[in-house]
């Protein structure tokens, strides 16, 4: 019989959006000096959510000055214990307002409420809790007896995990005594602005956190501002390169968390049902808008047919649609531009001779959507095996021996993440040891924890976020 799940939408009423948002500088919201604005859309139906200011050079100047003032007069001088208590307070308010933030994140980003509610928001709160606890324990972190803050951190974050990336940036910076100017992504600024309200609610001293909304020009002006001591960027490898070039010859410290083309290696002795789940969450979690996604499945030839059969059956059960529906597994693509890029790359995949498959899947009429897609018959030379698609598109390759799996997995300029599926512990460790990737998940995928460092090898960036190692990027 057909068991049709009725719509189960999470209520939007928990979110109260303002018509327009200013920049958050020195503890207050203010319009951009230029008066320029941009509009943030709901990618699920292309309706307008709110207007936000576009920060220009003057605004950047003001924000950096406010951050400098706060760092030198208040935040840098405060005891670690007191700084920690502010961060604990922020963590608690995030917990209290978690449903509001989850719904808003789903509206602005297009990701399913199931993920914002059960993954993003709990991790955001946990990240603040974790770094709150470090603030008065820096002497025990193995970074010297008395680690000092760097000063003002310029932070630019992407649209795929808007609030979580904010937490990854702000929590360690503040815990170590830095102040920040953060720019959220152009298409997903809204939860960062609610976070600014949370800073006010927490009585965080003005200037400690400043939020500048805008697009690429705003980000460039911020990271190139001579008054910042530290730049932290998460986003594309291309922009990462530009930033690395721009800080050359300055004293600015830099950490970059960039693209990836993660390999998910499935050995023939893997726990197959769980491996299939891991493949699915590796590439379809967050519509594949994940820099560490397992976008290349490397499956041992002896089990390839069985794995693919099960994988397709499983993918056919994914539920695509309204991000606010509690049963949605695959939400909307974040923007028209991203959808265009996914289309271009998948068309190239077909043109290059890979076999494309998607399940039967109703696509909503408005909004930006892309059905889960699997390419088989992919070779290392295909663009879908080399370029980051950043969408729900999996490229399947096969291998015969562990050596071949490792060689293929490493045959990419990226090196952010990898997965290894086997019931044999020694083989798992052997493989992990040889993978040139900053995070290796074994018999799981896309797991994050504030205590666990995250970051890439090679063109996936440098520096680590999370864990004790995440402090290092913010102390001198």
């Amino acid at each position: 019989m057909i068991f049709e799940y009725a719509p189960a939408p999470e209520s939007r009423s928990v979110v109260t959006l303002r018509e327009s948002y200013g920049l958050f500088i020195d503890g207050e919201f203010a319009p951009a000096a230029s008066g320029e604005n941009l509009t943030s859309l709901n990618p699920a139906d292309e309706t307008k959510l709110a207007q936000v200011a576009v920060a220009g050079p003057e605004d950047v100047e003001r924000a950096v000055a406010a951050a400098r003032r706060a760092q030198e007069t208040v935040w840098g001088r405060m005891s670690g214990a007191e700084r920690g208590k502010y961060l604990f307070r922020i963590a608690r308010i995030v917990q209290e307002r978690s449903r509001e933030l989850a719904v808003l994140e789903s509206l602005d980003n297009g990701k399913p409420i199931k993920e914002t509610r059960d993954v993003d928001l709990p991790l955001v709160a946990a990240h603040f809790f974790y770094y709150a606890g470090w603030a008065d324990k820096l002497a025990h972190a193995g970074l010297g007896p008395d680690p000092k803050p760097l000063g003002v951190a310029a932070q630019v974050i992407p649209w795929n995990f808007p609030l979580l990336m904010l937490a990854w940036k702000i929590a360690p910076a503040l815990a170590t005594g830095n102040t920040v100017v953060l720019k959220p992504a152009e298409t997903t600024p809204l939860t960062a602005l609610v976070f600014a309200e949370i800073c006010q609610e927490a009585d965080l001293p003005p200037g400690v956190v400043n939020i500048l909304t805008g697009a690429g020009d705003t980000g460039r002006a911020l990271v190139e501002h001579p008054g910042v001591d530290k730049v932290a960027f998460t986003g594309s490898t291309e922009v990462g390169r530009q930033i690395a070039r721009s800080v050359a010859g300055t004293d600015k410290r830099l950490t970059l968390e960039l693209g990836g083309k993660g390999a998910n290696i499935v050995y023939e002795d893997a726990a197959i049902d769980q491996a299939v789940e891991g493949i699915v969450s590796g590439i379809f979690f967050n519509q594949g808008h994940v820099c560490c996604a397992g976008s290349r499945l490397l499956v041992q030839e002896s089990v390839a047919d069985e794995v693919l059969t099960r994988l397709k059956e499983r993918v056919a059960r994914l539920r695509l649609g309204d991000p606010l529906d509690k049963n949605t597994d695959i939400g909307a693509i974040n923007s028209a531009a991203q959808l265009e890029r996914i289309r271009e790359l998948t068309e190239a995949g077909e043109a290059e001779g890979a076999q494309r498959w998607s399940p039967a899947c109703d696509i909503p009429e408005s909004g930006y959507w892309f059905a889960p897609t699997i390419f088989t018959g992919v070779s290392q030379a295909h663009r879908v095996a080399r370029e980051e698609i950043f969408g729900p598109v999996l490229s399947v390759l096969t291998f015969r021996t562990p050596d071949e799996a490792v060689v293929k997995a490493n045959n990419t300029p990226y090196g952010l993440s990898a997965g290894v599926w086997t019931e044999k512990g020694s083989r798992m460790l052997w493989t992990a040891e040889r993978l040139r990737a900053g995070v290796v998940w074994s018999n799981t995928f896309n797991k994050f924890d504030p205590t666990s460092p995250f970051g890439g090898y090679k063109e996936s960036g440098y520096g680590r976020e999370g864990g004790r190692h995440g402090l290092e990027a913010y102390v001198g």
Partner: protein
């Protein structure tokens, strides 16, 4: 619906072949299995879907009484409840079967005559299964002779845990033969098998030996029908179907007390084995107090007000 309940006669098996088969099954990663079950348990089943699920769940209930204190009176009133779960609402479907001890089968058969509701009997020295094979077969034969349409047997967990898979296999085969036309449900008692690897192996063992249903638990051991256990068993029947073409049913029993528990099980069925299993022919829920919770939730959906337990018959 392509349902075949006629298991082919169990193949003759050697100990070595059986062991190789069972140990060759892919492993189950505990954390991953739990995570999948947990993920599916967040499905939100509302309004029309909930109404559909509740009626389906009612029709899948094996309404059970397995107490030392059972009497003909108790069994007769349970049967009345099975046939007419809510005297105030005739649109409520009847349950799948009534499940009793062997000595109560004739009472139940009498009470259910003409209702179309099956009588399931536990057998084979339920719940421990610690009796000689001839006793177990006699137990089964008597229940079948008295009119049981379904037999819920327990496996020899001691034999399974000591690696004597062939003994378990042959015992199931012998009971199956004794069942004649009655459907055989094989209780794995997953709470004593402990690991999901064992649950998967025992599931395949039982199916190979001729089980029409695989059932989680006796209800006398905790934990019983946890969601990850049901998930692993649903994967097993799905895989068995893919390999042999034969549909085997699944029956979680023990610990399913609320509508929410029941609906979570139905979601697992829907998204693991698939919609073909969403029928009382292939999925049952062994329970007693669950039925009244389903009825109360049904009333809540139709009237919009929360009902109280005093408005539902005890049995």
């Amino acid at each position: 619906m392509p349902v075949s309940h006629t298991a082919s006669a169990p193949e003759a098996m050697t100990d070595r072949a059986l062991r190789a088969f069972l140990h060759g099954l892919p492993g189950v990663d505990e954390v991953g299995a739990r995570a999948r079950a947990q993920d599916l348990s967040t499905r939100s089943i509302k309004t029309t879907a909930k109404a559909q699920a509740i009626d389906l769940a009612i029709s899948m209930v094996d309404l059970t009484t397995l107490e030392g204190a059972d009497t003909p009176g108790k069994v007769r009133s349970l049967c009345a409840k099975a046939a007419l779960p809510d005297p105030a609402d005739r649109t409520v479907p009847h349950v799948g079967a009534v499940c009793v001890y062997p000595d109560m089968v004739s009472t139940a058969v009498e009470a259910l005559r003409g209702t179309g509701i099956g009588v399931a009997s536990v057998a084979t020295a339920f719940p421990a299964g610690r009796a000689p094979l001839e006793v177990k077969l006699a137990d089964t034969a008597r229940a079948v002779a008295d009119g049981a349409t379904e037999i819920d047997m327990v496996i020899d967990r001691g034999a399974f845990l000591s690696g004597d898979y062939l003994k378990v296999y042959e015992e199931i085969g012998a009971v199956k033969e004794t069942c004649g036309g009655a459907h055989l449900k094989v209780i794995l008692e997953t709470g004593e098998l402990v690991t999901y690897d064992n649950v998967r192996r025992a599931s395949h063992l039982a199916m190979r030996a001729g089980a029409d249903f695989i059932k989680t638990s006796t209800g006398k051991v905790s934990p019983a029908a946890t969601l990850p256990v049901v998930l692993v068993m649903l994967e097993a029947v799905r895989d068995h179907r893919a390999e042999t073409g034969r549909y085997v049913g699944v029956k979680p029993a023990g610990g399913i007390r609320t509508t929410k528990d029941a609906i979570r099980n139905l979601v697992l069925v829907n998204e693991t084995a698939g919609p073909a299993w969403l029928t009382p022919d292939l999925f049952r829920i062994g329970a007693s107090s669950l039925l009244n919770d389903l009825l109360m939730q049904r009333t809540r959906l139709t009237t919009g007000t929360y009902p109280g337990p005093d408005y539902y018959t005890l049995d």
